[in-house]
Symmetry: C2
């Protein structure tokens, strides 16, 4: 018998309880053991819940119960969740988490702590919701030197951009609609300013390249500045605007990581990822490009990933999954400034002036453009080179093209 305690009975936590119950028979078969929900920790009361016998308010009940093997942390944030995770690991319990903030900022320390106590810390649900990505990255692609991960990592912003592209809504209108549909929080900044995507690309970079990459090291730009004018220009040349989290390993061993909206070519599979879906493309030296696609959030998809980790641990409680990575370093991560690419530029200037500055460029057109506005795609260059050429011009938009 394997006993599970869930910390936090919010969307994901209640989904985990539901999956453990609904799919109990097959979970027991696949774990080759009886997996039972013993506790749910929450400060609130849920008298009508079918799990009402499981609720506790004091974490030390779970911490001190030797029958608890696996603690599922779905609290979120990096304060209480950190404290409880540390205490659970020290008490010899494996921890499964959906908490991207905690993994992105404290992953190295928590993985070390887990190893010291002979238990596991797994977090498949922290990236891509239900999409299997972390385990495939470390096991199925184990034969590859990975060079690049590129992801549509946030469903809220992808929904907003999809509605701007397909329904012609402005950013504010699309955000309002996302909030009305429950896809965006009242305070949407973690999503629309790119912080959520930043945490996820940090976790992907750590797994792909073996060293912790901290959110503070990753330049992050959201989608508030994207306008319908940009959407129209992108469409005119067969591109879709997508918020991408990217990490690349350079030949000198440095990691280049950043989050920013990009122009994605229409024939790239990432361009077809719409609404709240997420997708993560991975490049390896043997496999070439592979992509993983699915719902990046939501109660049951995320719970599905959490419970897959629970089953994996339940199969063999004390097995070392060897999912360690290094502590990282201040000088490990470089910004996107080093990365050459084509650029989309919208600027108030005469086209001949732009041609003079950039030489060869691809001019774009849209209906209803105001006098004096031009937009174009440049040749490949770095952002500092680009900004030097644009100095003195009245810049409206600047977006990197995904090549």
């Amino acid at each position: 018998m394997v006993n599970v305690a869930i910390l936090g009975f919010g969307t994901v936590g209640s989904g985990v309880a539901e999956v453990l119950t609904t799919n109990g028979g097959l979970i027991d078969r696949r774990a080759a053991d009886l997996v039972r929900l013993k506790y749910i920790l929450d400060v609130r009361d849920f008298p009508d819940s079918p799990y009402s016998g499981c609720f506790v308010k004091d974490f030390s009940v779970i911490e001190n119960d030797p029958e608890v093997d696996i603690v599922v942390e779905t609290i979120g944030g990096a304060s209480v969740a950190l404290d409880f995770t540390v205490r659970a690991l020290k008490a010899g319990k494996s921890v499964v988490s959906s908490n991207k903030e905690l993994v992105a900022t404290h992953g190295y320390d928590l993985l070390q702590l887990a190893r010291q106590h002979g238990v596991n810390y797994l977090f498949e649900a922290s990236v891509g919701g239900g999409i299997p990505i972390l385990r495939p990255l470390v096991s199925c692609l184990a034969a590859n030197e990975l060079s690049q991960v590129t992801g549509i990592l946030n469903g809220t912003t992808n929904y907003i951009l999809t509605r701007m592209i397909k329904a012609g809504l402005t950013f504010d209108q699309a955000l309002k609609e996302a909030q009305d549909n429950g896809y965006a929080e009242r305070d949407p900044s973690a999503d629309v300013d790119g912080h959520d995507a930043c945490r996820k690309i940090c976790i992907l970079a750590a797994l792909a390249f073996g060293e912790q990459v901290y959110p503070r090291q990753v330049p992050t730009q959201g989608i508030r500045q994207v306008t319908l004018a940009d959407v129209a220009y992108a469409d005119s040349c067969g591109y879709k605007i997508k918020l991408l989290g990217r990490c690349l390993r350079r030949e000198d061993g440095k990691v280049c990581a950043f989050v920013a909206p990009h122009l994605v070519p229409g024939d790239n599979p990432l361009a077809g990822v719409e609404d709240v879906f997420n997708a993560i493309a991975v490049t390896g030296n043997a496999i070439g490009d592979v992509m993983f696609y699915g719902r990046g959030a939501g109660k049951l998809p995320t719970a599905s990933a959490v419970v897959a980790d629970v089953i994996d641990i339940a199969k063999d409680l004390k097995k070392d999954r060897r999912n360690q990575w290094g502590p990282g370093a201040e000088d490990l991560v470089v910004s996107g400034d080093v990365l050459s690419s084509r650029w989309y530029v919208r600027v108030n200037a005469p086209l001949p002036k732009a041609r003079e500055l950039f030489g060869e460029l691809q001019a774009l057109a849209r209906g209803g453009a105001p006098d004096g506005e031009i937009a174009f795609l440049t040749q490949a260059m770095t952002e500092p080179e680009l900004r030097a050429r644009l100095a003195g011009l009245e810049l409206c938009s600047l977006l990197r093209v995904l090549d």
Copy 2:
């Protein structure tokens, strides 16, 4: 030290040798052991190969060498490959295979044999080339009752269909181009008649639903009958023609499995899978839909999947991976006849006659259609119902719509 023997030095076998060599350092780290190529079995001579010291012509050398832990079978077919796989397993060696024909026809027996001898039989590379799909199906989606798998499983036919759709080539012209590019064999029947896709959907069905599904149980239709007229009509209503392998679990426990060209809606991610790429969509009761995308064939992508299996086994040689399935049964599998869906029909008949037979239908148009030809999409119905209504008409094309 873990010693590996490769059977067959063809495209995949030589790719495995290359990946083991090129990525040797990281493979050793990830396996936490030294993984060494000891033998390559091939009847041919390769005097200039960098692996010339490894070649043997007699399988019994490998069979009788107690140092060989893992045998990689990349011979293909179900005769010699079956004999060598059985002998390797009986000799206590784990076997990693890229051989879809062997797994689809003898998977149950070989998995049983592996278990009896305390070794493993893994075959990630047999479906989707380098795309991680089999391991995610059994581990990452372990918390789900899976209900459906739908895949573009054959790169050759997807290339041909893509060229018909995008370049307006006929089937024969596109096949010729695929042969000239090395994407299709001189005898293309295993690909274009759907047999390759059939074997792969059998393996996916066995893993998803837990019982062997044999190729002879799966009605299989290829793409030879698809014409440019069908491509044009499909395009007129926003669909793409794709060869799909499908398996679905019915509520009565039966498995419905078949291979056939379908009209895929343009907003389904499978519609955007072009050229030689493959993609596999999986539906589970918690996760909803997820999709895995990548190169479904090719030397290094396929070798990447083989070597991932080698690493997995090398980490823990005697661990039971519990990837067993049941023996199946004659009455387990039902054909697509039970499955209701909309249909694309092209027929030589007056449109009023079609409306009389079908009631509500969506009429389609294309430029250059000969007099008397009509095409339309029906309401949802089974194939026997559809054919009953079409009785007596001069039928040109009939394709299922993926809903």
